[in-house]
């Protein structure tokens, strides 16, 4: 650890491994290394809280156990991301998306997570779609809203809750302007 504090000499092109230009590199450099270390782990408070939530009330968790769990989670993220990223690479896609993560989890043996996560992701996308449509509609006026909601419902074809809207949409596609039913 080099002590350059209060040094106005030209240490600008420092030998710091990080390549940062600090005149007072001493403590700051060490601090930066610690910060980088923290970046690769999820916060211990969050991790600890999740652990605590599924244990009985009288259970205690050692600090080391929480730290080990932090490391395990980061390793888990890297492991799964690596698999997902390989898939994208093979398929010549640049962006790792939610489906890739679900697929990777399933491939790596985390089947139990895969299904709940797919539902989670699907729901998230639905809500995203609705929110996007809403903000469009808000800028364009109220009338557009019904039409726009019908469109987003049609695209989320697997949701049963949108069935009435889908029927409405299908009638439009047939070009029937009058609400007539075929008996």
């Amino acid at each position: 650890m080099v002590d350059n504090r209060g040094n106005s000499s030209n240490n600008i092109s420092s030998d710091s491994r990080e390549g940062f230009n600090y005149n007072f590199a001493g403590d700051r450099h060490h601090h930066d290394e610690l910060v980088k270390e923290q970046d690769r782990l999820l916060p211990i408070a969050n991790v600890g809280r999740i652990m605590k939530q599924i244990l009985p009330p009288n259970a205690k968790i050692s600090k080391e156990a929480k730290e080990t769990m932090q490391e395990c989670v980061s390793e888990f993220i890297s492991f799964v991301t690596g698999e997902a990223s390989d898939k994208c690479h093979k398929e010549k896609r640049k962006t790792v998306n939610g489906d890739d993560i679900c697929w990777a989890l399933s491939t790596l043996g985390f089947d139990d997570y895969s299904e709940p996560l797919k539902r989670y992701l699907h729901r998230f996308r639905e809500l995203e779609g609705e929110k996007a449509q809403q903000s469009k509609a808000n800028s364009g006026g109220e009338d557009q809203r019904n039409e726009v909601v019908a469109v987003s419902a049609a695209t989320a074809s697997t949701t049963s809750s949108s069935t009435p809207l889908m029927k409405f949409n299908m009638m439009n596609e047939r070009g029937n302007s009058s609400i007539s039913r075929r008996y």
């Binding site: 999820l42 999740i50 050692s62 996560l117």
Partner: protein
Amino acid sequence: MRQAGKYSGFMMCGGISGRTGPHSLPLARIKKIMKKSGEDVKMISGEAPIVFSKACELFIEELTRRSWATTLQGKRRILHKDDVASAVMATDIFDFLVSMVSETASPSEDGTLPEEEETAGSS
């Protein structure tokens, strides 16, 4: 993070995990860890860290549950690092963690932990 507020309504629906409140793990940090996993990982969609925040929760829950089983076997109430190591060894899908926990494991893994705070009452 800006997004956290936007999605807190989504999480508060309670329909998915039954939990209220925003994501329990910081999305930006998850994204950083994802990026560090390899050279190939350049672009990550916005939804990927969100899926991971849920996946990590499930992972922590499972590993914790299994670790606690070891704790109980030792008639203890404090979950120790070695309990986590045991759970990893005993579970196939946690094979990717084996080298990591054996690096950090203490020499005595046969239940006689020197730093154990509660004795099992075996004398």
